[in-house]
Amino acid sequence: MTFEHCIRCTICVENCPVFRVQPDFPGPKQAGPDAQRFRIGREKSIDDWVLLCSQCKRCEMACPCGVEPAQIILRVQQRYGLEHPHTPAHLLFANNYYLSALGSMTAPLANRMAASNIGKKILGQMGIATYIPFPKFSFQTLSREKKNRNRGERKVAFFYGCFINFYRPDIGRKIIRMLQSFHINVVLPPQVCCGLPALGNGNLALARTFARKNVASLSNYIDAGYDIVYTCTSCGLCLLQDYQGILEIPEAKKIAENCYDLHEYLLKLIAEREIHPVFREVNRTLAYHIPCHLRALKIGYPAADLMKRIPDLDFTILDDACCGLSGSYGFKKTNEAAALQLGERAVSLVRKTGAAAIISDCGSCRMQMGGLSGMDAFDPAEILCESLGIRDKK
């Protein structure tokens, strides 16, 4: 839908987390459909405030008229990125994949540097916020995992994403083991960053390079009868939405049709009576912080549907608050105050529920919520594994 369908009702503004706390951002209505009327000419873009949009997509979920303010803003962000020099922070986070690969290779040193005072000072100089600790690089990344074939008929190519690969490969290994316990054949296809960090930092060309590589690789697996399963909701959104949309990747439709969220996939197999998991009691009280990008995927909350089957598990769904970190958004000095304020609000909502720990599908949500609250933050898959008795090897 185009900006002309906007009836200016301001429901998107009410849903914008950034607008709530960042007075410099005029809100999705003004930054999106309203300003779009003036962007038709060939003049160089001067609306630097579009960079303040965190691309949480809450405006799109709320719009009753099908206007996509975040999509309009995303395109303007790319145009701004093309026409203006990038700050060091934008450059670094766009290339997060290469950076993380380097970090993992030198994990013990890199982790120590990032946590040291000098390291923090250097990061601060580059415009990077350090109010929550950087995630720790993992030396043994998931991509190095040895092939472990299982002879099931159901074949899954696992798109694990950078967060699990570089920082929490243990979660990835648990997920693989869980799928294998259902006699599913799991492979790790060659893959790079999904491209979302590059898009979020105004680097369309780089995002497209990543996307092309992934599509070429995943497409082969689909042809060979594999279903693609992702677990990071932001990777998922990029694969499903941006590859077809702004990145205009041929074959992206095929990827979208064959891509499943992990929990969505398990539900599908249960509904088709292909797998029959037996969930055992998990005695926990949890707050389920719904990542903005899970909402945007429009698949409902499949992990919640699965967890409802776990005896004794008590969890509350919270989907009104954005955690504020939004990938690399909150790590930029310019966004630090807004990210902190939003994060603290999200944490206060969690505290109100009386939960002992947080669950969230998104690694960066967990980083923010766990970092600010000091509470444990789990991936829903970890809770499923706990219920199914699946442990990491170590």
Binding site: I11, G27, R295
Partner: protein, 398 residues
């Protein structure tokens, strides 16, 4: 295609749809709410208009023309649904005041009075006549609230202005959630030496905690404080929507956001499923019954073409004044635009008449002859018909 099975699917997340879904979930049905976006309820004043055309809502309803859908709701059902609504909002820490016996007045942002039945407790102290002594607080740069409108109609009113650092209703409301901001503000307010009997604010006293913020101001300034509803973004409307949504979820109902229904699967006289778009595969929501609460034109349930009006989900037959010339009155601000009657005509069970399908139920402002503006049948009408349609749906499923 991803297939999901439910007992009932409710389409539309306004007050009617939210009420119907929550009630069915309480009856232990598997129920889901599907919505294209957030409802116009978010833009409302948060006041519950039952029938504002008369000082007494019940007398107002009795005086509605024959064929008005309100006649299909029994007074007991109306009373029960509003009692339950008040209980729910009290549980969510957003109490409502008022009674079905008599309407009350709420001061509007242009200094006029609006007739309504139930009001958020933050508007309870709203003046009932224009000679009351009130002091208005406004905020520097807040462009959607001009005290001048009210001052021109209230001879005993004055105002002061506070710089909250931000100039939007959302931004100021977010600030009031912060106790340090509230304390600084209270110190400033005490220095204003306000002499009037009541203190008025535009409705920006917080998002979730408005009621407790208001109570704190009242106890410090030792006099009644009330909110005046603003233009959208309207905090009281947002609070109402958020509370009803959380309540629904606590009862076990499921909400699917931004799932515009794009297709319908039929079999015989039954609707079997509705399909919605998704990024990859479409979703198919199967159910035994469907409740339509998609609202009127602004809500998106109805769409006017040049020659006829269509209902967008099931393409149900739409009632509208037969003669195209009767759709609009010459006076723009008239309450007598015939188009206000457009909607779905239903029988006593809230099933559409002349429809080929027998498992659809309809409620809220999409009902034919409602004339929301003219009759003042707002959220109260939506809550009552939502409940009535849900009950009728449950009886059919038994």
């Amino acid at each position: 295609m991803s297939v999901i099975e439910y007992d009932v699917i409710v389409i539309g997340a306004g007050t009617a749809g939210l009420t119907a879904t929550a009630w069915l979930a309480e009856q232990k049905l598997r129920v889901a709410l599907v919505t294209a976006g957030e409802p116009t309820a978010c833009l409302s004043t948060g006041c519950i208009d039952v029938c504002s055309r008369d000082d007494q809502p019940l007398a107002g309803i009795a005086g509605l023309p024959d064929g008005h859908p309100f006649h299909r709701v029994s007074p007991e059902m109306l009373g029960q649904s509003l009692d339950d609504f008040r209980q729910m909002m009290a549980d969510m820490d957003m109490p409502y005041k008022g009674a079905l016996e008599k309407n009350r007045r709420v001061l509007s942002a242009i200094g006029t009075f609006k007739n309504t039945c139930l009001v958020p407790a933050t508007m309870e102290a709203s003046p009932q006549s224009d000679d009351e002594r009130i002091h208005l607080i406004t905020f520097t740069g807040l462009k959607d609230f001009y005290p001048g409108y009210i001052l021109s109609r209230f001879p005993n009113a004055s105002f002061s202005s506070y710089d909250a650092g931000v100039s939007t209703t959302m931004g100021i409301a977010a600030n009031f959630e912060d106790s340090a901001f509230l304390e600084t503000f209270l110190l400033w307010l005490e220095r204003q030496k306000i002499r009037e009997d009541k203190i008025a604010f535009p409705a920006v006293l917080g998002l979730e905690s408005a009621f407790s913020v208001l109570k704190q101001i009242e106890s410090r300034l030792e006099r009644p404080v009330f909110e005046i509803p603003t233009l959208p973004p309207s905090m009281p409307g947002r609070r109402l929507f958020n509370a009803m949504k959380d309540h629904l979820r606590r009862r076990g109902g499921v909400i699917y956001w931004n799932w515009p229904v794009v297709g319908v699967e039929r079999s015989g006289r039954q609707i079997e499923a509705v399909t919605t778009e998704a990024q990859g595969r479409p979703n198919s929501l199967n159910a035994r019954a469907f409740i339509l609460s998609t609202g009127s034109f602004v809500g998106g349930g109805l769409y006017a073409k040049r020659d006829r009006i269509v209902e967008k989900v099931f393409d149900l037959p739409v009632f509208a004044p037969e003669n195209r010339d009767d759709w609009f009155d010459q006076d723009y601000f008239s309450m007598n635009h015939g188009i206000g009657q457009a909607g779905i005509a239903v029988d006593d069970a809230f099933c559409p008449t002349d429809s080929p399908w027998n498992n659809i139920f309809v409620c809220g402002s999409i009902l034919a002859r409602t004339e929301t503006l003219k009759n003042g049948c707002g959220h109260g009408f939506a809550i009552a018909t939502g409940r009535a349609a849900a009950r009728s749906c449950l009886e059919r499923l038994k």
